[in-house]
């Protein structure tokens, strides 16, 4: 059975701290790994990773995939209270022409002022 595990499940930090969120997976026919940020409602897309070792960066957020270790990390530097959210990791494990994501349970990040 395909599986995505995120850690930690929750994290509380102070503004300005740097955080690292982890995602490990066990899936067949790996295609891509995605990170989403979910505040109150819709998960919003952050990154899609398909190749190992290539860092994707957007402002203070960055992410990298390690296919050998079957894992990915999401880094957030100089955290702000607006970074408080659930961060979801998902992988596309499907073969053929379908594209259904398997999600982890998420990491709840709380950034205190």
């Amino acid at each position: 059975e395909d599986k995505v595990v995120q850690s930690p499940l929750s994290l509380v930090v102070h503004e300005g701290d740097t955080v690292t969120l982890n995602c490990s997976y066990e899936v067949t026919n790996f295609r891509s790994l995605l990170w989403y940020k979910q505040e109150k409602k819709a998960p919003t897309f952050l990154f899609m990773l398909t190749s190992s070792g290539i860092e994707k960066k957007s402002g203070r957020l960055s992410s990298i995939l390690d296919k050998k270790e079957l894992s990915s990390i999401l880094n957030i530097t100089a955290t702000q209270t607006g970074d408080s959210a659930i961060y979801l990791c998902a992988v596309d494990p499907s073969g053929g022409s379908n594209y259904k994501l398997t999600f982890g349970k998420g990491t709840l990040l709380t950034v205190n002022p």
Binding site: V4, R31, S32, L34, Y36, K41, A42, P43, T44, F45, M48, T50, L88, A90, D92, S94, G96, S97, N98, Y99, K100, L101, T102, F103, G104, K105, G106
Partner: protein, 119 residues
């Protein structure tokens, strides 16, 4: 219309009633997905539509759940004879295309969801 639109945003109904949830994808997106998010759980895949192809219904939890997509655009998820365990947030997502052999997959973009509460 920039994003995926879902309605209603909240639905409270009695056990045993039928409910219909609506999703209007981003214009031009050919792929449409339904997921369910229960408290403390990750998002659970329900069903996937790609263009005019037969949908992938492999995630539907029981035959009380069904979905259709008319005209390749708007989709409706129907739950018949609702049970308390159906209470969850139902999220719809769309993308430019699903995986199509050799072409990089496109990220899915989500709507705000429908929070369904079964009394």
């Amino acid at each position: 219309g920039a994003g995926v639109s879902q309605s209603p945003s909240n639905k409270v109904t009695e056990k045993g009633k039928d409910v219909e949830l609506r999703c209007d994808p981003i214009s031009g997106h050919t792929a449409l997905y339904w997921y369910r998010q229960s408290l403390g759980q990750g998002l659970e895949f329900l069903i996937y539509f790609q263009g005019n192809s037969a949908p992938d219904k492999s995630g539907l939890p029981s035959d009380r759940f069904s979905a259709e997509r008319t005209g390749g655009s708007v989709s409706t998820l129907t739950i018949q004879r609702t049970q308390q365990e159906d209470s969850a947030v139902y999220l719809c997502a769309s993308s430019l295309s699903g995986w199509t052999g050799g072409i990089l997959p496109q990220p899915q973009h989500f709507g705000d969801g429908t929070r369904l509460s079964i009394l």
